[in-house]
């Protein structure tokens, strides 16, 4: 080895700078275990009601690069958990005229373990399919005496739904699509396959026909929502399902539906049902 080479080697040993995003590629075969204990199902056979549209369903985690994947494998590295913790505080905070907190009724939060895995869900009393957000709003206005419930896309609601998802992590998603929910599911399916906007793109064009492919630098996932709300590295905050739907339709150069609209409730039920068999991951980490 020449002296010149040696000096360079010494210098290399002395200062190294690594941008994690350079060091990684999506490991589509990786398995997800969070905190070394919560085993997630990130790929499994598609539910029968997809009629073979896809053979295997994949969590969006599978399509992310190694460092993004790693951030979800440990709660300390997952910034979304900061917001789940704030949601837990809200859960135990009295709100509304009756001086009650969520915990006043739900004395054991573990009783809510299956909530994220089974919503949206038909609500007999209201005669409609309800999202988790609508259920929280119902508790606030009908039980807790709040004049105005949190907005569906408010930070409080995102924190609360992150907390509710976090206690259901690892639960297998099993959203009911038959019985009274069927008409809503049918409506959601119709939306899923409709080509919106001036670009004439449906959900299926990207997330059913082209998952695993790249659009420019975007690695297309199946558009599963089992990881919501999700902490996106792009905007460094929690993102709700309907807000993400809105972003996708906006990107078709289309007129979006509103967050909380009947259309998005139907689409949420339908897309959630496409993930039946995956596990609850929220708050997940995505790009």
């Amino acid at each position: 080895m020449t002296g010149q080479t040696k000096r360079v080697v010494v210098a290399m040993a002395a200062l190294a700078l690594t941008a994690s995003s350079l060091a990684v590629w999506a490991d589509e075969d990786a398995d997800l275990v969070v905190n070394g204990e919560i085993e997630m199902v990130v790929r499994t056979d598609a539910p029968a009601h997809l009629d073979g549209a896809v053979r295997t369903i994949y969590s969006g985690w599978v399509f992310r690069q190694d460092d993004t994947q790693a951030m979800q494998m440990d709660d300390f590295d997952n910034p979304g958990m900061l917001f789940a913790e704030q949601g837990q505080e809200l859960f135990n905070t009295a709100m509304g005229a009756n001086g009650e907190s969520c915990a006043s009724c739900h004395t054991n939060a573990e009783d809510l373990t299956r909530v994220r895995a089974t919503y949206p869900k038909w609500d007999e009393a209201h005669g409609a399919v309800q999202t988790v957000e609508m259920q929280v709003q119902e508790c606030q206005t009908e039980s807790m005496g709040m004049a105005e419930a949190w907005g569906q896309n408010s930070q409080e609601m995102l924190n609360m739904t992150a907390y509710i998802a976090s206690i259901g992590r690892g639960q297998v998603i099993d959203v009911a699509i038959d019985g009274p929910a069927q008409a809503t599911w049918d409506a959601g399916k119709e939306i899923y396959y409709t080509r919106y906007g001036q670009l004439e793109l449906s959900c299926a064009n990207c997330h059913e026909q082209n998952y695993g492919n790249y659009i420019r630098a975007d690695h297309l996932s199946q558009g599963q929502i089992n990881g919501f709300p999700t902490y996106r590295l792009k905007n460094a905050r929690l993102n709700g399902t309907h807000n993400r739907f809105r972003g996708c339709i906006r990107d078709t150069r289309g007129e979006t539906f509103a967050i909380g609209s009947d259309e998005f409730i139907a689409l949420e039920l339908y897309v959630a049902s496409r993930g039946n068999g995956l596990t609850v991951e929220g708050p997940s980490v995505r790009n």
Binding site: Y196, E200, L201, N210, R216, R250, T252, G254, E255, T256
Partner: protein, 158 residues
């Protein structure tokens, strides 16, 4: 026909002679295979400018979906559509123009947007705002953009 008569006729359609030669999106004539044999502008396409339209995210952004080896210097080519290497040897000018104008006339299930179409959309928006389109839409590319892209694609013969 006298010169004055021609001018009078044209004024009824368009303010200038140059514009009168541009085929509007609703007046494009394709054959039964979706091929368009007539130039949309009558002005020869510029392949250099066509490459710019292909790679610019605010214009065609064609490489978002298509890999093109000749455009390798522009990063991040997509995989949603077929590679365009050799496309100029596979398609003649009329077919190429037809695909860029309205690919779905040739491949009905194509994911590819129609770049010279202004109606028949579901919930068309005001560009990428998510709001409803305020009025008539412009096509995604101008007629000359289309001619330039077609000219570029025809250079991709290997």
């Amino acid at each position: 026909m006298t010169r004055q008569l021609i001018l009078a006729t044209l004024l009824g359609v368009s303010a200038s002679v140059a514009h009168a030669e541009v085929v509007s999106p609703t007046a494009v004539v394709a054959n039964e295979y979706g091929e368009i044999s007539t130039s949309l502008t009558g002005v020869a396409g510029d392949p250099v400018r066509g490459a710019e339209v292909m790679t610019s995210r605010s214009l065609g952004n064609c490489i978002a979906c298509h890999q093109v080896t000749a455009l390798e210097e522009f990063p991040f080519h997509g995989e949603v559509g077929p590679s365009l290497d050799g496309a100029g040897a596979r398609w003649d000018e009329a077919a190429m123009r037809g695909i860029v104008v309205n690919a779905k006339a040739i491949f009905p299930e194509s994911v590819m947007p129609s770049f010279y179409k202004v109606d028949g959309f579901t919930r068309p928006g005001d560009a990428f705002t998510g709001k409803a389109a305020p009025g008539a839409l412009d096509p995604l590319l101008t007629a000359q953009d289309i001619e330039d892209v077609v000219a570029y694609l025809l250079t991709l013969t290997d």
